[in-house]
């Protein structure tokens, strides 16, 4: 019923015995106490708010058991800023007002952070297609696309 798992989150190791049915999203929020990873579609896997990076790839953490991440590295939104300095993507979101309520933002940042590594010079179409898995109920996406485009420029 329980398994001991060892998951590295943002460089810190969390080792704990957890119920097998515990979702990775809940391990992150409740065991590691990192509440930047949000849950917004009652775990249906369709909103993207819970997106984190597993060994560098953007994944929905509510579609995984915590035990599946045993031995792996997870990066959450708390892991983006380094030494108190926002990442270029985070800074661009701030500068372009790419969020309103901010509920969707952590998931979008974790998805777009990986996206920009694979597409350093994306077209607007590619950015919009890349965002399909993340629902935003506030912004209408225009400022998000602006921010991602600008972040790409700043990172290149």
């Amino acid at each position: 019923m329980n398994k001991t798992v060892k998951i590295t989150i943002n460089g810190e190791i969390f080792e704990q015995s957890v119920p097998i049915r515990l979702l990775l999203s809940d391990f992150i929020r409740e065991v590691a106490g990192l509440t930047g990873t949000h849950i917004s579609c009652t775990y249906e896997g369709v909103c993207g708010a819970c997106t984190v990076q597993l060994d560098g790839a953007a994944v929905k953490s509510c579609l995984m058991l915590a035990t599946q991440a045993d031995g792996h590295e997870v990066t959450t939104v708390e892991g983006l800023a380094k030494d108190g300095k926002l990442s270029p993507l985070q800074q661009a979101f701030n500068d372009h007002h790419a969020l309103q309520c901010g509920f969707c933002t952590p998931g979008i940042l974790m998805n777009m952070d990986e996206f920009l590594k694979k597409h350093p010079n994306p077209s607007d179409d590619e950015i919009r297609t890349g965002l399909i898995g993340n629902l935003c109920r506030c912004t209408g996406y225009a400022h998000i696309v602006d921010a991602v485009r600008d972040a790409a420029k700043r990172t290149r």
């Binding site: 097998i20 997106t51 953007a58 994944v59 929905k60 058991l65 599946q68 998805n111 399909i132």
Partner: protein, 293 residues
């Protein structure tokens, strides 16, 4: 939605170990976990309630695409993100890359696998229809050590049904070495971009020296009864070249012979129109790929 209690989780490092773990339970009580992009939803909604989850993530022999003289082998655990960009899946088997490239969203493509999609065989899934068109074969291994190959036509049954036994693991999807002039394509339409298809159409073409269709396979997904081949249309496509008005007639045949349902996404007539319009698009792509364009 939250999973019910799961008694055990194992992460075997060999296929034998995976099958042994499955053998400890009654049929259906232990379930293999690939990318989890369908299974986790099913577990959370309690459509299925496995006592044991057997995570296939550590089985290296189930991962990756390899090509040799005998054809192409796609490990069951190969993810969409790998399939959509594989250099071996651009022309004859381009339908598989088309399907993979438009499954859901990036996050789903980073986890979901070809094997998981085929073993789940959801009504609106893309891979079952694309595989029906390209004529792949499923390599299965059972707990008793018996290995068998099952053609996709026999593997895919009704919605959520396949020929796989509960104690069998899908090792790989295999494809014959493609003839020189072969091309395939897949395209779907859904209510939002890259959504589960209301209709998806896949076609595979082999051309003769003169550029006419020597062999065609056309499959449709998004049907209430599961993906189907349109065999009348396939026969009607024989001998036709790109641009021939007979291609449209063949697609009319597909639209009439395939039984389509009406539901809240689209009515039956609209679905038949989708078969025609998506069919024309995939035929054009498949012709171009077969001709090396």
């Amino acid at each position: 939605m939250y999973p019910a209690i799961i008694e055990d989780y194992v992460r075997p490092t060999s296929v034998d170990e995976a099958l042994k773990a499955a053998g400890k339970y009654e049929a259906g009580e232990a379930m293999f976990l690939a990318g989890g992009q369908s299974l986790m939803q099913a577990v959370k909604s309690r459509l299925v309630r496995p006592r044991c989850v057997i995570d296939l993530q550590a089985l290296k022999e189930l991962k990756g695409v390899s090509a040799g003289g005998g054809g192409i082998r796609i490990g069951a655990m190969t993810r969409y993100v790998e399939i959509m960009s594989d250099p071996n899946l651009k022309t004859a088997y381009g339908a598989l890359a088309d399907a993979a490239e438009h499954v859901g969203d990036r996050q789903v493509r980073n986890r979901g696998t070809i094997g998981g999609s085929l073993c789940w065989n959801y009504v609106a899934a893309c891979m079952p229809a694309a595989n029906l068109a390209v004529g792949s074969s499923m390599e299965l291994l059972s707990a008793t050590g018996k290995k068998r190959a099952v053609m996709v036509d026999d593997f895919i049954k009704g919605p959520l049904e396949t020929a796989r036994a509960d104690d069998e693991v899908l090792l790989a999807v295999t494809l014959p070495a493609a003839p020189a002039k072969a091309g395939s394509a897949y395209k779907k339409w859904g209510v939002v971009t890259d959504a589960l298809p209301v209709i998806g159409v896949a076609v595979y073409l082999e051309l003769d020296g003169g550029g006419a269709i020597a062999k065609a396979r056309l499959a449709v997904g998004g049907l209430a009864t599961g993906p189907k081949r349109a065999k009348g249309a396939e026969a009607a496509l024989a001998g036709k070249k790109a641009g021939d008005p007979g291609l449209a007639a063949a697609l009319d045949k597909a639209a009439s012979e395939i039984e389509t349902q009406s539901d809240h996404w689209a009515d039956s007539t609209y679905r038949k129109n989708l078969i025609r319009t998506l069919g024309a698009d995939v035929l054009a792509s498949a012709f171009a790929r077969a001709a090396g364009k």
